[in-house]
Amino acid sequence: MNRPVFRKFAAAPHIVWAALFIAAPLAFVVYYAFTDEAGAFTLSNMSALVTSPNYRAIFLRSISYALIATVICLVIAYPVAYIISRSRVRAQSTMILLIMLPMWMNLLIRTYSWMVIIQDTGFLNGILSAVGLPNLHIINTPGAVILGMVYNYLPYMILPIYSVMVKIDNRLIEAAHDLGAGGVQVLFRVIFPLSISGVISGITMVFVPSISTFYISQKMGGGSYDMIGDAIERQFMNNYNYNLGASMSLVLMILILVCMAVMNRFSDEDTGGVIV
């Protein structure tokens, strides 16, 4: 077989796919973002985003919520991933399965269930009342939106960290102990540097869907804490303003690209891990 020819054609389906479903839509987004209704070139969509305090508020809110959710995910996921990676092999696969299990259900259903659990007359407050504790008001607050994001995206943080940690050679940790390092020192000077690529890809995998989410904020926040995704959806489905919607999408994409570029600087050389 003529290898170069085969190689050329082996990639063809992917190139067609990428052109049709990645490059073309991207081109449309850029086109709409820089044109007005009549199709003439304009920068007014972009300038509207910068000058309007409303859109600034939405962008700031989205970034804040996504960052907070990412940090919370990291704080929860890191110890969990460590514990799983240090347990027996059979226990490991069970625990990973349990973490993956909720992801088999649809995101919409999971979010809707949370609504029913944490609402004022919901399941959680029912239990609290039964035990005689004061009720919690969680639903329709920023906290509820962040809770929704943390719950839905936590597995995406645990899995990459776990997959890197499980490869850390136990002998390295033992060696560090032998050389007189304490528990904290081992954690920060041995385990953390070795797991950094997992952490970076975990952060990316949580931050990106968090910042662009739209359903969670509508349901958990009662429609009062809009994120960029909600604003984009409204432009397309309600206001019939493709141009403004596209420019928002473009800004969001650039924002995500910048974040990922910064992230990649930390992992490109060290381990070449599982960056998405």
């Binding site: 859109y55 960052l67 329709n140 429609g223 809009d226 489905m237 309600n238 930390f266």
Partner: protein, 414 residues
């Protein structure tokens, strides 16, 4: 004997197979044979047709059986999303069922076909009061499907009787019920609740009016539990929220789940709406579409729909049907007939939505953005967010500088 057995078998098959509606002669006598195998695309609101669930007949299946036309049925959740899909032009729908002001918009943009009423003999079932409405003055493009009014729904165990007795829009702006009030999550309906309270027209083109309505809603926002659409069912039925503004027909559905709920039409006036069947430009099977519309106006079919959807039915054959009156009284709500068709309905001051001109429409959407994107004075979370951003930037810089230095040291050692 053989024939008797045959007919017995036929009867048996009929009884066991799909249930059969006793359709009007006018519907049955049409010759459908030339349409067999046609594919008809219908685009309607979600949960807006008797579909065989909850003991109803499956009307689309019944239509298919009668005519041999295959119905491809799809649903939308707002007039605006329907408009977007229609405008995008991916699918050629044959029948759509939008609301009044959207029909006005579609007519203005030349997106609807004129109907041939000779294919819709059952149109005679539509009473005069539901013909020639403002959105379609000559009644050339649309045939009413359902109607309704917006009102205030409240939970009698959570709201003081004297507050509700006012029968005013003020109830949804009452600070006493902070965190227990639900507002529409779509601009036209939400602004209307403020405009009626302020005594404005809902079709105003004066920007100052829209600003005033926006201010009213911004004032209400901290009192709200949320902006919702269909989540309202769960929230009102469970007692999670005490006060909401929504459509009368849906109130009946909620009432059957929770008898503590009550409804009134606010005295300042409220929105009267009609959802009507139209054929959009580009329809592939206009005549089959008209037969579908005709089928929906059949007295038995319309009755089935009226009992399933619970909205008002603009069909004299249904309104005069004893069974329907009994159903309203016994199964829906003691005052259902009065609220929908009777004395109470007649005394309500109403205004219908008209198509807003593009300028006003854009301005309304901008006001809505303003309302939705504003924050509820909850700044703490921003400071945490901004703090985190600053921290991260510092961290990134420190790490990069450190690595840079280390690299220089490494290079020196080599």
């Amino acid at each position: 004997m053989k024939r008797l057995i045959c007919s017995l078998i036929c009867l048996f098959v009929l009884a066991c197979g799909s249930p059969v509606l006793a359709l009007d002669d006018a519907t049955q006598s049409i010759d459908y044979s030339s349409f067999a195998g046609t594919e008809l695309r219908v685009y309607n609101w979600g949960e807006y047709i008797a579909d065989g669930s909850e003991g109803s007949y499956d009307l689309n299946a019944a239509f298919e059986e009668l005519t041999g036309i295959h119905v491809v049925y799809e649903t939308f959740d707002s007039n605006e999303s329907m408009y977007t899909i229609l405008k995008a032009g991916g699918t050629a729908y044959d029948v759509i069922i939008p609301s009044d002001y959207m029909i006005g918009k579609l007519i203005a943009e030349d997106m609807l076909e004129k109907l041939d009423f000779s294919n819709i003999p059952n149109y005679s079932n539509i009473p005069d009061e539901y013909r020639n409405l403002d959105y379609d003055p000559g009644n050339e493009y649309s045939v009413p499907y359902t109607f309704g009014r917006v009102g205030v729904i409240y939970n009698t165990t959570m709201v003081d009787e004297k507050d509700a007795a006012e029968q005013s829009w003020d109830l949804i702006y009452n600070p006493k019920y902070k965190g227990k009030i639900l507002q529409f999550n779509n601009p036209r309906d939400a602004f209307a609740t403020a405009q009626f309270a302020l005594g404005q027209s809902v079709n105003t083109t004066d920007k100052a009016d829209w600003d005033e309505a926006l201010a009213k809603l911004q004032e209400q926002k901290p009192l709200l539990q949320g902006f919702v659409m269909d989540e309202i069912f769960n929230k009102m039925e469970s007692g999670e929220a005490a006060i909401a503004t929504y459509y009368l027909g849906d109130f009946f559905t909620m009432y059957t789940e929770n008898h503590d709920l009550a409804f009134y039409h606010p005295k300042e006036g409220t929105n009267f709406f009609v959802d009507a069947m139209c054929v959009p430009k580009g329809a592939q099977h206009k005549q089959a579409a008209e037969l579908y519309i005709n089928f929906m106006l059949d007295s038995e079919v319309a009755l089935e729909n009226a009992e399933y959807i619970c909205y008002g039915c603009p069909n004299s054959a249904v309104i005069e049907n004893e069974d329907y009156l009994e159903f309203l009284q016994e199964e829906l709500h003691p005052d259902a007939f009065e609220l929908l068709y009777g004395q109470i309905a007649a005394s309500v001051k109403t205004e219908i939505f008209e198509n807003l001109d593009p300028d006003t429409n854009t301005y309304m959407n901008r006001c809505w953005e303003e309302l939705k994107s504003g924050d509820n004075g909850n700044m703490m979370i921003y400071w945490i967010g901004i703090g985190l951003i600053v921290l991260l930037v510092i961290l990134v810089i420190v790490l990069l500088v450190r690595r840079h230095r280390r690299r220089i040291i490494d290079d020196d050692e080599e």
